[in-house]
């Protein structure tokens, strides 16, 4: 129980709490349960064990107004019911932060239970119950029950099969009907026809005292197929909820000035020309123009630029940009739905690329499969009718053909491989949205990377920490520890690992665009831009991707800090590996040419595009698509989101902007870029296994169909053949998890 004893991490940094804004956000994101009681869902990724559950629930329950708090460890969420006299929410996030847990608000639409999963599990439970009991009766028939008990057993089986067919089978009928109405066909069409005809024939035979009934085949088929479908769904939901649990970027509301007083309103109520107050550390909710204040902005998610940009009165700012150092007053120029973020969403919808036209492998197989099977069944019916003039036995044989070919193996061939592939990806920290993404990834012939946040980590890191004297490091740590500026945070993080015993500065001033100034004794220390810190003009003669900060005492330089947007681990190896596999690799970035060129050179990537606007990125990706090339787009920013959805298949790091993560087919959690080649490798191997499974299923049919057409198939033969073929297909898929498993 020692894995996560709560610690007061926040106190060490003394970060100012934006308590009022947060409380208003909590109120906006909560749900009314009636009688003034409201429920708020928080995502708390740090909850890991019983001790965490206890401390989170106790801390929240102690807050005034909180009625109940319940942790869900599987989804890492807390549901809090609260009812306060004044209607204002308790400071839930602040309380959790106080005991060392980061918490994010959950948007309303994300917390609904999953009705689809509940439906599938109930259908599966019913089908399992019916199939097992029918099988029990069928085995008694096969070992030789006398005619009267056989008849009774068949009747009981029919009674048991009916609910399974009506309730569990409806999932397949609905899907089959919806594609048939559009003049297409999928795997569910032969399944639905086979199952219903088998049931109808067996019922007829039972009522006419016939010796054979296929109730067991029909229900166990439903049961097996529902297992595959449920697994598939669970896997997708797990990936989805893991993605949704990451921090939310778009603010739910903002503080505006109305009649001279600050007021917190939902983002959707901000009209043009309204003054919006933006504290340091907040994201800008709508497009606007800076009216008052000086600050620096982190535009990395919006434009792909890694270096912070200075903003002063008169500068235009875009929604989604993070305000870093000083408070700003921004005059809104557009409503939220006309802002940059909403514009990106519209471009994404317009760009829907290859994925919309893509047809799943299983569906493509079904378009060949179902006509062939139905023709064969029809042919055997006509053949036997002509030969024997016996309607009943001809129909029986035709239905036996349908049942024996009913694509149990084929229906499992694709999902079982994809479920195992998704689990392997999940183990290596990659989340896949659905099976179609895996199939598309295996087909790519080119990869386009975004730069900031994708090839690089999107934040600054101190690269020359070892060259800085410990004394200067101590001063730097003391100055930077409370700052929000990325450069200062990078220095503080690196310094904290090397030195302790920090000097106590009386007052530290942050001067936007220049740096930090502090006084100790009679000396003035400055840390920031070289020319400002030393009072002399200095040339920044390092490569384009780096920035330099100088620490000076009374204008005399003490140390130089070189900061860089660090390249992701294994970026070079991954890029080279992809090129060796014969893929065209390129960089699409919104950053300046020299920065992009420098990185491209270091990674050994020949093609790059710099200074691209979101629309340019989409155009580049769409041009590849038009030329018949299938491109994987890897990107993280808001500006990448349209390109992500235009690409044949797309991937985003977990640090990506919300809409980027939603647009991407894959999301990877690791810092290393090797996730791209891992995902490609697994998807290609699963594609190979899927084709092998198709081969096995076709081979099985080639053996079984002649036997069925000759009329030798009894329910016993059908049951054995179906189970055997399914086991073979599943066993083949299992090779994916066995092969090259890291130990």
């Amino acid at each position: 129980m020692t894995c996560c004893a709560p610690v007061d991490v926040q106190a060490a940094f003394g970060e100012p709490m934006l308590s009022d804004t947060l409380r208003d956000e909590i109120r906006l994101a909560s749900r009314d349960l009636g009688d003034g009681t409201r429920q708020t869902d928080l995502s708390v990724p740090g909850v890991k064990c019983a001790a965490c559950i206890a401390s989170v629930e106790r801390t929240l329950a102690r807050l005034p107004g909180v009625e109940a708090a319940r942790v869900n460890l599987s989804t890492k969420r807390v549901a809090v019911r609260w009812n306060t006299a004044d209607g204002g929410p308790p400071d839930l996030i602040g309380a959790l932060r106080g005991i060392g847990y980061e918490a994010n608000l959950f948007a309303l639409k994300q917390d609904a239970k999953d009705p689809e999963l509940a439906r599938l599990v109930k259908a599966l439970a019913l089908a399992g119950f019916c199939a097992m009991n029918i099988m029990m009766l069928s085995v008694s028939v096969w070992v030789g029950a006398d005619a009267s008990s056989r008849q009774a057993f068949h009747l009981i089986s029919a009674l048991l099969a009916l609910p399974a067919l009506l309730y569990s089978g409806r999932i397949f009928y609905a899907s089959a009907w919806s594609v048939l109405r559009h003049g297409r066909t999928n795997m569910d069409v032969p399944i639905s026809i086979g199952v219903s005809l088998a049931f109808a024939l067996s019922l007829y035979d039972t009522l006419h005292n016939g010796p054979h009934a296929y109730f067991d085949a029909a229900t166990s088929l439903l049961f097996f197929l529902l297992i595959g479908r449920t697994l598939d769904h669970v896997m997708r939901e797990r990936a989805r909820s893991a993605v949704a649990g990451l921090a939310r970027l778009a603010p739910a509301g903002a503080t505006i000035i109305r009649d001279g007083r600050p007021l917190y309103v939902p983002v959707s109520e901000i009209e043009p020309d309204v003054m919006v107050l933006i504290a340091a550390g907040d994201r800008i909710p709508v497009d606007g123009v800076v009216d008052q204040g000086v600050s620096e902005l982190d535009c990395s998610l919006v434009s792909g630029e890694s270096a912070p940009r200075k903003a002063a009165a008169g500068d235009a700012v875009q929604a989604g940009v993070m305000n870093l150092t000083g408070p700003l007053t921004v005059r809104a120029t557009a409503r939220a739905e006309d802002s940059f973020l909403a514009e990106m969403v519209r471009m994404m919808e317009a760009a829907e690329g290859g994925r919309a036209r893509y047809r799943r492998l299983a569906d493509r197989a079904a378009t060949f499969y179902s006509p062939v099977v139905h023709t064969l069944a029809l042919l055997s019916f006509m053949g036997w009718l002509l030969a024997t003039r016996d309607w009943h036995s001809s129909v029986t044989i035709a239905i036996a053909v349908l049942i024996i070919t009913c694509p149990c193996a084929l229906g499992l061939a694709v999902p079982i491989v994809q479920v195992i592939a998704a689990r392997r990806l999940f183990e290596s920290g990659i989340m896949v949205k659905d099976g179609s993404a895996l199939e598309r990834l295996a087909e790519i012939d080119g990869v386009a990377f975004d730069k900031t946040g994708t090839l690089t980590l999107g934040g600054l890191t101190l690269v020359n920490a070892d060259e800085v004297a410990p004394a200067a490091m101590r001063v730097a740590l003391g100055m930077t520890i409370g700052s929000r500026h990325p450069a200062a945070q990078a220095i503080a993080e690196s310094a904290a690992q090397r030195v302790d015993n920090v000097p106590a500065f009386g007052r530290i001033e942050e001067i936007a665009g220049l740096g930090l100034e502090a006084r100790l004794g009679g000396d003035t220390y400055r840390l920031g831009r070289p020319d400002w810190a030393t009072g002399r003009w200095a040339r920044n003669d390092v490569s384009a991707g780096t920035s330099i900060s100088v620490l000076a005492r009374e204008g005399e330089p003490l140390a130089t800090f070189v900061l860089e947007d660090r390249v992701r681990r294994e970026a070079r190896e991954t890029a080279n590996g992809l090129v060796r596999k014969g893929l065209a690799v390129e960089i699409l970035s919104g950053d300046r040419v020299p920065v992009v060129e420098d990185l491209a050179l270091r990674l050994g990537i020949r093609d790059f595009g710099a200074g691209l606007l979101p629309a340019d990125k989409v155009a580049r990706v769409a041009a590849h698509g038009a030329a018949g090339r299938k491109v994987l787009m890897v990107g993280d920013g808001l500006n990448d989101a349209p390109a992500l959805s235009a690409a044949y298949v797309s991937m985003a790091p977990a640090t990506a902007a919300d809409i980027g993560r939603i647009a991407a087919d894959f999301v990877f959690l690791n810092e290393s870029l090797s996730a791209v080649s891992d995902a490609l490798g697994i998807s290609r191997r699963s594609r190979r296994l899927i084709f092998q499974n198709f081969g096995l299923a076709v081979g099985y049919n080639a053996l079984a169909v002649p036997v069925a057409m000759l009329g030798y198939v009894t329910p016993l033969v059908a049951a054995v053949a179906m189970s055997l073929s399914s086991i073979v297909v599943v066993a083949n898929a299992m090779r994916l998890s066995a092969a090259r498993k890291p130990i």
């Binding site: 019983a50 559950i53 109940a68 319940r70 460890l73 439970a125 019913l126 119950f129 009981i156």
Partner: protein, 51 residues
Amino acid sequence: MSSMWWLILIALGMGIAGLAAFLWSFRNGQYDDMDGAAERILLEDDPDGKG
């Protein structure tokens, strides 16, 4: 012969009882947090104050 019918009835009855129990527990939310249930037995008292 009639003992066999009783056996079939009992077998089906037990199956239905199991199915109903599963559906009840599923609807009751007992499968919503499998990891949490495993950890909660280590807690001394439930801070929620209920079951």
